[in-house]
Symmetry: C2
Subunit: 337 residues, 2 copies
């Protein structure tokens, strides 16, 4: 895709040793994209010395002298790290030198800096974080995932609009369906905010499906699942915990004794295929939505394969007019109102 991506090479648990090889792999796969590697040249340059010229010519290194710590308070990073790799990468999006930025750094700092530098789109009160998850029917996009703890109905509506536009851009769907995460018991169907949000979504012109429950995320009942950041974060973390527990149990069963180890050996191809299919690294790259620029957050612990997926997702969003789509949709809303 003919896009230019700014990569915060110093962010994440592993820094350049992961981000730079991932960038090289991405450029090898995408023959027209460009990347700007932001960070300490002394750490980055040795890693790209031997890269093939066809890839090397589409990279440039942008020096940045500081690094935002993984546990650094966002306010610190915002005020005190004006030459951090994260900040410089986002500045490149602001100046138009890059169409999008990706970072495996501190989520809170990334959100604070993105918001400060890029600003939110007209009509968007709060940016949200959206992730993609596997489902029985393909993919589900869930937002918000932790940026906004106390949400109003209007915020949830805006999340619905942004999520739908994200799916339009990256999955090429015309009218993605939007579900509102709720709970099932009749007497207690949701709190007031969720009830009001359903009303707003119903009148929004979006392809609103109605309420969905937690299991619908993985059933793929709707393309987008909207919830507040607290609930979304719990759903995501709970999923991670369950997947890890099941993987541990499955491994234990096959390691129980000599016979089960033999079974594992025989079943390996099917198990490996299963593992690839549910490999969470494929789903790496949560999109910060609602900003005047595309910013993607990779898992801090991402390896090169996972970080490459995050770069590819960044390119997909930037190359398919994500920001313009959200802007257009919000403009239609303004006119109607």
């Amino acid at each position: 895709m003919d896009v230019s991506i700014a990569i915060d090479c110093m962010g994440g648990d592993h820094g350049p040793s992961v981000t730079v090889p991932a960038a090289c792999a991405f450029l090898s796969r995408d023959p027209v994209a460009h990347v700007t590697l932001v960070g300490d040249p002394a750490a980055i340059e040795p890693l790209i010395e031997r890269v093939a010229p066809a890839v090397r010519e589409r990279m440039r290194v942008q020096p940045a002298t500081q690094v935002v710590g993984m546990d650094e308070p966002p306010a610190n990073a915002l005020r005190g790290k004006k030459d951090s790799s994260m900040r410089v990468a986002i500045n490149l999006v602001k100046s138009g030198e890059a169409q999008a930025a990706v970072s495996a750094g501190n989520t809170g700092a990334l959100m604070a800096i993105s918001r400060f530098v890029l600003k939110t789109l007209p009509g968007i009160d709060r940016p949200a974080i959206a992730t993609v998850l596997p489902s029985l029917r393909g993919h589900s996009y869930v937002l918000d995932l932790g940026a906004n703890v106390d949400c109003s109905a209007e915020h949830l509506l805006q999340f619905g609009i942004m999520g739908a536009m994200l799916v339009s851009a990256v999955e090429h769907k015309d009218r993605p369906s939007v579900g509102l995460l709720n709970i099932g018991e009749e007497e207690i169907k949701g709190n007031d905010v969720v009830k009001q949000a359903a009303e707003l979504l119903r009148g929004s012109g979006l392809n609103f499906y109605g309420n969905v429950e937690g299991d619908d995320i993985y059933k793929g009942t709707t393309d987008v699942v909207v919830c507040d950041g607290f609930v979304g974060n719990v759903a995501l973390k709970t999923s991670e915990g369950l997947a890890q527990m099941l993987a541990t149990f499955l491994r234990e069963e096959f390691k129980r004794n000599f016979m089960t180890k033999l079974m594992a050996l025989v079943a390996m191809p099917a198990l490996a295929h299963f593992k690839r299919r549910v490999d969470h690294r494929q789903y790496n790259g949560a999109v910060l939505l609602g900003l005047r620029g595309v910013v993607v957050k990779s898992h801090g612990s991402a390896d090169a394969f996972a970080f490459e997926q995050a770069i590819a997702r960044t390119a997909e969003a930037a190359g398919n007019r994500l920001i313009e789509r959200i802007g257009e949709r919000m403009a239609v809303r303004e006119e109607v109102a």
Copy 2:
């Protein structure tokens, strides 16, 4: 265990065809327990005709002419179904003829009727629903699971107390650890209610661990995980959805072609052992906590094996002074306050 359990035989998707065989299996396993089978004698009696005398003599049938529908509004069930199997079973707990009741019927109706007939314990504002889930270290008890959507910090504290007493009773742990479900990002650590609840839990005399995240449920970081009913319901349903999706994918991989089917055949013993280990039926039986009596809710779709587990859990809670434990703990609180 020397307890007498009232069983709502008509509740659930399958009614007596599941609940009665489950009761027989439970009594065969527990040589001293008694059960009262509540419902339509014409439906129940043919199912217990051929039961061994040692089991049969520990059952009695209590007629009830009505059945609460699975989708019936709780208020309807409460006002209009005074001779329902659910209501009669709970009445038996109230009168002391049974120590506990179990039903696979409509959750909302079960909660409404239990609350109306049994009343809440002193100091408990709202009953909660607690479930047990598997974890890497054993079991986690999570509450609330949908009875209370908008919770105050005080409610979350009460859930913590009730959850800890449940674990004391059924897992025989002296000082179960209690975690408060929260989200991880530094800048946005929880909403105000959760922050206040943490303060209250810290001063409660419980073995309070502090904040936990969604993945801690399955890591088994704490014995009890406290959250509001909306979040708890989403966490549980999301888990169900993920588990079903993974099971589907795993089955598909082994059914892909002749070779993978052969692999499945070879790996069957290990896979079957894994399946048993994570079989959600084992975890059937959510406890309604905070009432002056033990009431357990089985999954509506439970089969006989699953319903038997719910009966066993009911017996365990009733036989180990669950209500007294909660009452004692609440009394200590009153004295301190």
